[in-house]
């Protein structure tokens, strides 16, 4: 047998290595700064290597389990960015806690899991990656040991997560039973032949199981509680990281598996996803209207965003996938930025109620402005990143270039549009708190550098992508092509 080419999964390996290294380092040095810095270095190094791979246009398959192509490269990179943001946000957040080594180790392990999912081309790869992330993040949620809220959140996350894992696994097993293979390509071939009841059941279970990760209604209910209970950086990670991973897994299973195979199954599933998407975005947005806690608000908003992204699975054209990937990328920066601001304000114990944000514009102009940008971007106000990605994503429901206007999904775009109008309402409410209302105190707020770094990173990304989206869209096109190849 030939020796597998480990360079293909070097980025993941770097991160994993760091994950194993950091606790040891910390145990030896007891230097929390060092732990953070090493993890940061690892992520950056991995990122650099990834960048090199992108430039080189490396492609290949690792034991037929992990494939390296434009899609996996893009997503791996995205997850690394998430890790970077979360790490930056964490550096200060955790300084008052103990066990930094474990914290960073878990974070890195979770990241590695996501990265593996990004390039998995086999059910086993997907499963392992997803679980690696899940289990690490259970622990991350529970990290603040003495906080009962954190404990409660962790338990909820654990129970629902475990249940979903079971569903997923069972779904996989049936899928395996139907198609006699665990490789996605093989599945694609096999499904083409004959749809069976077992196949449908397995798909339902996969939707339920992975729907938990991407917070599809009705599998979303853990999310607000967990986001609220967990520390803000962890919430960030869950919202922009593991959720995206769920989408990647779904894309792989359903798009590779099914779109490739033009079976009747496909259109059936598409209807299912369309309905779920509509319900998800509507519920998410409407409930968000009534939220008073910033984290919960963002949680519901990202449930709604999940709804938008699920349109991709319903429409399932290459153009839609482009839009979906693009929106995933922009969403990382918008939602990530917003969450990190929340984290920063929690860190300086400003509280996370909406009312705590009164007069923020006077007390912390830059923070307020960034929040404004992120929220409006989420609402899809031009010329910000969120607008452009929504523009592509929503328009995919109307058709794809060259295709006839309209089609069966035209109604989805109306639902989506109405929803994003509703969403503007609660985003604008936050903005009003920050810019219109007066604060009790006028005294200025000072936020640590690491937070500012993360926030500014997101801010720049959101504005830059909004003004010049061309390169990102091109990346997405390549990725989509690779995914549906």
């Amino acid at each position: 047998m030939t020796f597998p080419d480990f360079t293909l999964i070097a980025p993941q390996l770097i991160v994993l290595a760091a994950a194993l290294l950091v606790p040891g380092l910390y145990f030896l040095t007891k230097n929390d700064k060092l732990a953070g810095m090493v993890s940061l270095a690892a992520v950056v190094a991995s990122g650099l290597y990834l960048g090199w791979m992108m430039l080189e246009g490396v492609e290949g398959s690792f034991l037929g389990v992990y494939a390296v192509d434009d899609f996996s490269l893009l997503l791996t990179g995205l997850f690394l960015i998430v890790a970077l943001l979360v790490l930056l946000a964490s550096l200060k957040s955790v300084e008052r806690d103990r066990h930094h080594g474990e914290y960073y180790a878990l974070l890195l392990a979770a990241t590695a899991g996501m990265m593996f999912v990004a390039c998995a081309e086999d059910l086993i790869g997907i499963f392992v990656g997803v679980e690696l992330t899940s289990i690490s993040s259970y622990a991350l949620v529970a990290f603040r040991k003495n906080d009962p809220r954190a404990a409660e959140a962790a338990v909820k996350y654990l129970v629902i997560g475990g249940l979903s894992t079971a569903l997923t696994l069972y779904g996989f097993s049936l899928l395996y039973g139907v198609t006699q293979t665990t490789s996605l390509a093989g599945i694609a071939l096999a499904i083409g032949s004959a749809p069976s009841a077992a196949l449908y059941i397995s798909m339902a279970m996969l939707i339920a199981g992975l729907g938990f990760k991407i917070t599809t209604v009705p599998f979303h209910m853990w999310a607000p509680d967990v986001y609220e209970g967990a520390t803000a950086p962890v919430a960030t990670f869950l919202a922009v990281g593991s959720k995206k991973m769920g989408f990647v897994a779904l894309f792989k299973v359903f798009l590779i598996g099914f779109v490739a195979a033009q079976a009747t199954v496909v259109s059936d599933m598409q209807y299912l996803f369309a309905v779920l998407a509509a319900i998800t975005m509507t519920v998410g947005n409407i409930v968000a209207l009534s939220q008073t806690n910033m984290k919960r608000l963002l949680a519901y908003s990202s449930i709604a965003q999940a709804g938008y992204l699920m349109m991709v699975l319903a429409i399932a054209t290459e153009y839609a996938v482009i839009g979906g990937l693009f929106h995933m990328i922009t969403h990382v920066f918008m939602k990530g930025g917003a969450f990190i601001i929340v984290a920063a304000l929690c860190y300086i114990s400003m509280g996370e109620k909406l009312s705590d944000y009164k007069g923020l514009a006077k007390r912390a102009p830059i923070l307020a402005f960034s929040m404004l940008i992120f929220l409006f971007a989420l609402a899809g106000v031009p010329p910000l990143a969120g607008f452009v990605s929504k523009f592509v994503l929503f328009s995919s429901a109307v058709g794809s270039p060259g295709a006839e206007f309209g089609g069966q999904w035209i109604w989805l775009v109306f639902v989506a549009v109405i929803n994003s109008a509703i969403s503007l309402y609660y985003y604008a409410r936050v903005v009003k708190y920050m810019y219109v209302d007066e604060a009790e105190t006028e005294e200025r707020i000072k936020v640590p550098m690491s937070f500012m770094a993360a926030i500014v990173l997101c801010l720049v990304a959101v504005i830059a992508i909004g003004l010049y989206p061309e390169p990102v869209i091109k990346l997405c096109e390549a990725a989509a092509a690779a995914l549906l190849a």
């Binding site: 031009p382 607008f387 328009s395 109307v398 060259g402 549009v417 009003k432 219109v436 096109e477």
Partner: protein
């Protein structure tokens, strides 16, 4: 060279907005100077453009922007006669508004920066020649207004602001769907692998009649809310009543025009068959809006709310002109947009002054103000007279031509009597304005509010009002100056619409 002038005119205000924003702390007092300078530059440039405009060759400025395998979005600016007039109106009004708000005390840096930012959005809408760009500016113009109302507004400002924001946002999104439809259909008909959003590309496509009717509906809704026409108007009175004067002036003076501009620029141009199919509904809506708005005005007690409803009535006039689909009608509609922009600015300024100086705008509480505030009374009377279409002032030319076009249409359709409805509205208009004047500035001096120490129009207010009044007279006695810019555009459209 001139093509870069377009971008200059477009983005100078934005630069000014950023600079003004940083005029915080002890530099607060310089904010207004920044605003003045950065609103004067666009005004100067647009005047230059007017001077150098050649009706045969519109100004254009195009740069490739987003070019991927699925999308083709360009940075296209385009100024023909119609756009030019609207651009001039915008730059002028913003400049005057800055002057008018010279004494603004609360967070002036933010205030002026918002106004300048909005100017970029407004100008962009009138200059964009790419749907993507068009929509961006369309939305950008929205945001500053939300803040203007929400921060500097009246007691119910939060409600009004969010209502304005959401309502108009919904409409723009529906419009966006229409734009999607256009782009995709064009791509499929022409067999493009890219979605192109350039006006030029799309207006060349021959869409199927049914499709045109459908999409015209989507786009028309988007624009109708903005204009606004009954029954999609209710955001307007609230927004106006609560908005600060500067906001109201720009809202009514320019922002409403975005809607009618869109109808001319997009609906009529790209979807001629749809326009023909929608003609009767549009005319009905327009007539309803005209009369409905006028009647609502009569019932108002708040001077500013009355003016707001009068805007609805007058924008109905615009729609009436456009709906005739004749060259005179379209040109007159566009001219009415310009005229209403100037006039309504005066009206909202005087409303703002009375609210600010006397402390109330409730007509029943006012009375005999001409005694205490003669200059103010003169401006009020001038504005009202201009708005009720007094010949010799700009409003008359517009209404006269709109009604001429409408009469011709009615005659051709054999239902000439409908013009009676429009004419009746002229009476109603005169009615509510005169009645309001009788109760607010004439008659015995009010004793319901303390007017012992009210002061008359201040210098800055006076100057900006005087300039506007001068222009209203100028364009009233020399309408050809604006008309000849607009008419070629209108006649080109009518030529296409005529053959259907």
């Amino acid at each position: 060279m001139t093509d870069y002038l377009l971008s200059l005119v477009l983005f100078t205000p934005l630069v000014g907005a950023v600079i003004a924003l940083f005029m915080a702390g002890d530099k607060l007092k310089y904010a207004r100077w920044v605003a003045l300078v950065f609103s004067a530059i666009p005004l100067a440039i647009s005047l230059l453009l007017v001077a150098t405009f050649d009706k045969g060759a519109p100004f254009t400025h195009s740069i490739g922007w987003i070019e991927t395998s699925v999308l083709k979005i360009q940075y296209l600016l385009y100024i023909d006669g119609l756009s030019l007039v609207m651009v001039l109106l915008t730059t002028l009004l913003v400049f005057l508004v800055v002057l008018f708000s010279w004494e603004e005390k609360e967070r002036p840096n933010f205030f002026f920066s918002l106004i300048l930012g909005m100017q970029t959005g407004l100008l962009g809408v009138f200059m964009a020649a790419d749907y993507f760009l068009f929509f961006i500016f369309w939305e950008v113009a929205l945001v500053p207004m939300y803040f203007l109302i929400n921060i500097w507004g009246g007691p119910r400002r939060h409600y009004a602001a969010i209502k304005f924001f959401i309502y108009t946002h919904v409409s723009s999104l529906v419009m966006l769907i229409g734009i999607f439809a256009l782009a995709f259909q064009a791509a499929s008909i022409e067999g493009w692998t890219q979605l192109s959003f350039a006006f030029a590309d799309i207006s060349g496509v021959a869409f199927a009649q049914g499709f045109q009717v459908l999409v015209f509906g989507l786009l028309f809704f988007g624009f109708a809310v903005k204009m606004p026409v009954v029954p999609f108007h209710t955001w307007l009175p609230d927004a106006h009543v609560e908005a600060p004067t500067a906001g109201s002036v720009l809202l009514a003076g320019v922002m409403l025009k975005m809607g009618s501009y869109g109808i001319i620029r997009i609906c009529l141009d790209v979807l001629p068959e749809g326009a023909v199919a929608w003609q009767i509904p549009m005319i009905i809506i327009a007539l309803v809006a005209i009369v409905y708005g006028a009647l609502a005005c009569i019932a108002q007690r708040d001077l500013k709310k009355m003016v707001a409803f009068s805007s609805i009535s007058h924008m109905g006039m615009v729609l009436l002109g456009l709906a005739t689909l004749s060259d005179i009608g379209i040109a007159a509609g566009a001219f009415q947009m310009f005229a209403h922009g100037l006039i309504t600015a005066v009206l909202f300024m005087v409303c703002g002054i009375v609210g600010h100086n006397v402390g109330t705008r409730q007509i029943p509480l006012l009375g005999g103000l001409a005694e205490k505030m003669p200059k103010y009374a003169a401006f009020v009377m001038f504005g009202f007279m201009a708005s009720l279409g007094l010949p010799g002032l700009v409003g008359f030319v517009a209404e006269f031509n709109i009604l001429v076009a409408f009469y011709d249409w009615g005659l051709a359709e054999g239902i000439v009597w409908v013009i009676i409805i429009a004419l009746a509205s002229l009476l109603l208009t005169a009615g509510y304005y005169l009645w309001a004047m009788q109760r607010s500035i004439f008659g015995p001096l009010t004793d319901k509010v303390d007017v012992s120490k009210v002061h008359d129009v201040s210098v800055y207010e006076g100057v900006s009002l005087a300039v506007l009044c001068g222009l209203i007279v100028l364009f009233g006695i020399w309408p050809a100056f604006a008309w000849d810019f607009i008419f070629p555009v209108a006649s080109d459209l009518a030529a296409v619409l005529g053959v259907i």
